[in-house]
């Protein structure tokens, strides 16, 4: 073995055996330092014949470079080991609780309202707001309720005086919209309604309602069904289907109530749909021609539909809440569950 190779092998072994960074540093200096072993070896070049000298010098430098990279590699290794050892002394108990922030939480009714708004605005509907303390005529007469009609029995009403009442349905905006806007139009509202009802798990004197309607040329029941399908898909998932059933509301003709296929059991029957695979959501129909005519809208040219639904129903289904009163109690143990 030639002396270069001999020295290289020895140095390589010592580099690998260095267990501490300062030991490695010592090896580095001993072999590769300015006055290290390789420098000494290079000095022996004078003892060689001139033609052998360049080759010798080159071989020494190559060995040095090779060793230098071995030193660097070993140093990285040792640094990592050292860092791990040091970090280990800082080990903490991560089962201890994380920092508690104050985080804003939407009320579940607001969460539902915002989803509904997004869905309807996406379908080209414009938000319109009417008063909750409403003139009696907008709540009933303007919606084609004949005077003293039994249809009002479903809507026991809070009156403030002979002419003003707490609106019993958001449909009350219709008359106001027709006074301000001309067809074609797509309008909706979301807001509170009031009925003088005994309060229990499923009834309250206050609830939130959505009312949406459109008037355009050639609008019909199939458009109503299609729009409800699109709305239901946005709210409850793409596979949601819509079913109509005849029903009666004075402000629509024909009138229907509509159900959606239960999004929670895919038709298998569950607690939410009470085993029927369908969930009744609200009322709908074509806007009664008397209402359009009352605002000088030509019913031969323009037709329209309207639909409504209760807002509370949505979080009640979504979160399986079984008592309407919880929404208005605002118990922190209730509100903090949803992080909406």
């Amino acid at each position: 073995m030639n002396p270069i190779e001999e020295l290289r092998a020895k140095a390589e072994e010592e580099i690998e055996q260095a267990e501490q960074l300062d030991a490695l540093r010592a090896v580095e200096i001993r072999y590769l330092g300015k006055s290290g072993e390789f420098t000494a070896l290079l000095r022996t070049v004078g003892t060689l014949s001139p033609e052998k000298r360049p080759a010798f010098g080159k071989a020494v430098n190559e060995a040095k470079e090779q060793l230098q990279s071995l030193v660097e590699a070993r140093r990285s290794q040792l640094e990592l080991i050292e860092e791990r050892r040091a970090s280990e002394r800082e080990r903490i108990d991560l089962t201890m609780p994380g920092r508690r922030f104050r985080v804003g939480i939407r009320h579940p009714i607001t969460e539902a309202e915002e989803r509904i708004k997004a869905a309807l605005i996406g379908l080209g509907f414009e938000f319109f707001e009417g008063p909750e303390l409403e003139e009696a005529k907008y709540n009933f007469e303007a919606l084609n309720y004949p005077p003293d009609h039994p249809a009002m029995d479903d809507q026991d009403t809070f009156y403030v005086d002979d002419h003003r009442l707490m609106r019993t349905q958001c449909t009350a905006i219709q008359g106001r919209v027709f006074e301000q806007k001309q067809p074609p139009l797509r309008v909706f509202t979301v807001g509170r309604c009031y009925r003088n009802e005994a309060v229990d798990r499923t009834h309250g004197h206050t609830f939130h309602q959505v009312d949406a309607f459109m008037v355009d040329e050639g609008i019909n029941m199939a458009h109503l069904k299609g729009t409800l399908r699109a709305f239901a898909s946005a709210m409850f998932g793409a596979d949601t289907r819509v079913r109509f059933r005849p029903d009666y509301f004075p402000f629509v003709e024909p009138g229907v109530d509509y159900s959606i296929s239960c999004p929670f059991c895919a038709g298998a029957g569950c607690a939410v749909c009470k085993g029927t695979a369908w969930i009744e959501l609200g009322g709908a129909g074509l806007i009664h021609p008397n209402i359009l005519r009352a605002h000088d809208i030509d019913t031969e040219r323009w037709t329209g539909w309207a639909f409504g639904l209760g807002v509370e129903r949505i979080p009640m289904m979504q979160y399986q809440i079984d008592d309407l009163r919880l929404f208005y109690d605002n118990d922190s143990r209730f509100l903090e569950q949803f992080r909406a």
């Binding site: 804003g104 414009e126 050639g218 059933r245 024909p254 922190s332």
Partner: protein, 675 residues
């Protein structure tokens, strides 16, 4: 309306199960809410919509079933007889035993009566009792039970009078005289107003027309002779009377929803047959039948193009005609469509769209296609007020507040705004009696439902002021700014400056920066409150809630609150932020510590600083307030930091110090001394 499955099957022959019948009715628009069990098997609880009074009977329900699928629901002989009307052969004979006068033909278009001179006061037949019980009625005696039975079967309410107790044995239909009174069957003496329609004898009221009979002429064990009333009353009149008397009955329920005027004598005949079948007693010969208000049903036209357009599906003309015909309408084909004359029991059919609904309903909505509207594509979007409300809510949510939703109908509260709340004329209870004029009372309710000593609540909603409805946002908070944690222990406590900071954030989000001015609202701590002002206009209040009030309301102490009127804010101009270029050079911080009389407002100090350091001042903030040892009485020491920056160069220490000196000089005129 409750009806037994077996009774329906007496009218239509069918193999359909109760569930299948329920499904059919539901899809026809008569929702079966429940199928219950009784001694007679299944009972269907049918929810009849208020426009379909004709379906408040076995006959009406059977008619709908037969119309929906005549093959599946075949009318029985009994149903055909009911439709023909059971003639007894004496209908054309005038009744000599009594006489009827109608003074108000517009309220009582038809009144008919039959008389029995023998009154068998026994129990009704077992089968009749069983049906009445299953349908939710209480058997009493054969006379009353048979009237109820006929009402359930045919939808025509009947009333039996004790003929011997009717003065002059005759009937007068008229409105009440001023102050007129009568004791109704429920034992309550009632006084009538002059628009109420009464059934009277020669002298006095004996029944409230279409609502309830009188106690004195009621059929009893002592009754010898009977007068049976079958009438058609004007629906609104019955409804108004029933509402005014608060006396809903099975009879008024039907009369309000239209009873078939052509079925009046039929019901008398059916009663006669059933009574004779049970007791062997026959009626006196003849019918007294006054029909001054006969009205011919008007034909309604429906165009084929119209029903196809409105339904969004094509129904062939022949199928449409067959549907309308099966519902008892006289149908004729006309140019481009059909003309249908509704039967006497369908007062709800008046316009083309009514017929379109009938055609669609029988064609089946399940066959209706789904389409999205074509044509115009309007721009959807939020209203300005809703958008402002959403932004205000977002600001509160970002600050870590929890949203609550509280009732707008409530009891008056000490936290109400200082104006008289609007009262409900018919409150449900004292707790549901006024319209809130502030969100603070509701927030206080919600505060009672928080299970931590620290809470940050807000609500966005309408309040009702005498002049207008407004959208407000309000917050209520107390306790520690951050939840307690093992790393840091207790955090700082909420104070008035927390409320102010929150309002400044909300104002920034709404692009309308608030100012705070001294105010005098009794709901708040006298010295720790402010009115919130934007653009010179008052838009809200804030502060610590009055300690006395908080104590009286049994709330936790140290409550801080605000309320902002978003409707007013919306009307104020929005200061939309504009981009301001900023410097690429480093800033220099300079702090000053000054001793200043406590009655010099900080705002004034800050204003002077901004004036005197203008151009180079980037930010200024108060970082320390100290009073006590080493500070003169009536003064305090303020630590104020400033960052200075030049747009085009790095500021030197000397330049920064010079600004600092200018600031101190400017403050000297306020009595501020550098410490």
């Amino acid at each position: 309306m409750r009806v037994t499955h077996e009774w329906v099957c007496e009218y239509v022959e069918t193999v359909a199960s109760p569930q299948e019948i329920a499904d059919t009715l539901t899809m026809l628009g008569h929702e079966v809410e429940a199928i219950e069990q009784s001694d007679l098997g299944a009972v269907l609880a049918v929810k009849v919509t208020p426009n379909r009074g004709d379906c408040l009977s076995v006959l009406g329900i059977a008619r709908e079933l037969a119309a929906s699928d005549p093959m599946r629901f075949q009318p029985t002989e009994l149903m055909r007889e009911a439709i023909r009307g059971w003639t007894l052969g004496d209908e054309e004979t005038p009744l000599s035993a009594t006489s009827v006068t109608i003074e108000t033909p517009d309220l009582c278009p038809r009144y008919a009566a039959r008389v029995w001179n023998e009154a068998p006061m026994q129990a009704s037949a077992d089968w009749m009792q069983a049906r009445l019980i299953a349908c939710g009625m209480r058997p009493i005696n054969v006379i009353v039970d048979t009237t109820n039975y006929v009402m359930l079967e045919l939808g025509q309410p009947l009333h039996a009078f004790d003929l011997d107790r009717l003065r002059e044995e005759r009937i007068v239909v008229r409105t009440a005289r001023p102050g007129e009174k009568m004791r109704t069957l429920d034992g309550i003496e009632r006084e009538f107003s002059t628009e109420m329609m009464l059934i009277c004898d020669a002298e006095r009221p004996v029944a409230v027309a279409g609502v309830m009979g009188g106690e004195e002429t009621e059929v009893t064990q002592a009754t010898k002779r009977i007068l049976l009333e079958s009438a058609h009353f004007q629906p609104t009149s019955v409804r108004r009377t029933r509402r005014a008397l608060n006396l809903p009955t099975e009879a008024s329920h039907r009369f309000e929803r239209h009873v078939d005027p052509e079925g009046v004598v039929r019901a008398l005949n059916r009663f006669a047959l059933l009574l004779s079948q049970q007791t062997g007693v026959a009626q006196e010969r003849g019918v007294c039948d006054l029909y001054p208000g006969r009205s011919e049903p008007q034909p309604v036209q429906v165009r084929e193009a119209r029903w196809n357009l409105l339904l969004g599906m094509d129904v062939p003309r022949a199928a449409a005609a067959a549907s309308l015909n099966s519902l008892g309408m006289r149908v004729a084909e006309t140019e481009g469509g059909l003309t249908a004359t509704p039967p006497s029991w369908r007062a709800d059919i008046a316009i083309e769209e009514d017929l379109v609904e009938e055609i669609g309903r029988l064609a089946g909505y399940e066959n209706m296609p789904e389409r999205l509207p074509e044509g115009s594509t309007p721009q959807g979007g939020e209203s300005a007020l809703t958008s402002l409300r959403t932004r205000a809510r977002d600001a509160m949510l970002r600050l870590g507040f929890i949203e609550v939703v509280t009732h707008s109908l409530r009891a008056p509260s000490p936290l109400d705004a200082p104006c008289e709340p609007i009262r409900l004329r018919n409150p449900a209870s004292p707790e549901v009696s006024v319209l809130r004029n502030s969100l603070l009372p509701g927030l206080a309710d919600a505060a009672r439902r928080q299970h931590d000593d620290s809470f940050f609540l807000f609500e966005v909603g309408r309040v009702f002021l005498p002049e207008a409805e407004r959208v407000c946002i309000a917050g209520l908070m107390r306790g520690q700014l951050l939840p307690e944690h093992w790393r840091s222990g207790h955090a700082a406590e909420v104070d008035v400056f927390t409320v102010k900071g929150a309002l400044q954030e909300v104002g920034a989000r709404l692009h309308r920066l608030p100012a705070f001015e001294q105010s005098n609202d009794e709901r708040f701590h006298p010295a720790k409150q402010a009115r919130v002002v934007v653009g010179g206009q008052e838009v809200g209040v804030m502060g610590e809630l009055s300690r006395l009030l908080v104590e009286r309301m049994h709330l936790q102490p140290s409550l801080f609150a605000f309320e902002l009127d978003l409707t007013s804010l919306m009307e104020l101009p929005e200061a939309t932020p504009r981009y301001k270029p900023f410097s690429a050079f480093p800033h220099v911080r300079r702090d000053i510590a000054i001793e200043v009389p406590k009655d010099v407002p900080y705002a004034e100090i800050e204003r002077r600083i901004r004036e005197s350091a203008a151009g180079l001042l980037e930010e200024v903030w108060l970082f320390d307030v100290y009073e006590g040892k080493g500070i003169e009485e009536g003064k305090h020491s303020l630590g104020i930091a400033m960052t200075l920056r030049h747009m085009e160069k790095t500021l030197t220490d000397e330049e920064a110090n010079e600004v600092r000196e200018q600031v101190l000089q400017a403050l000297a005129s306020l009595g501020a001394k550098q410490r």
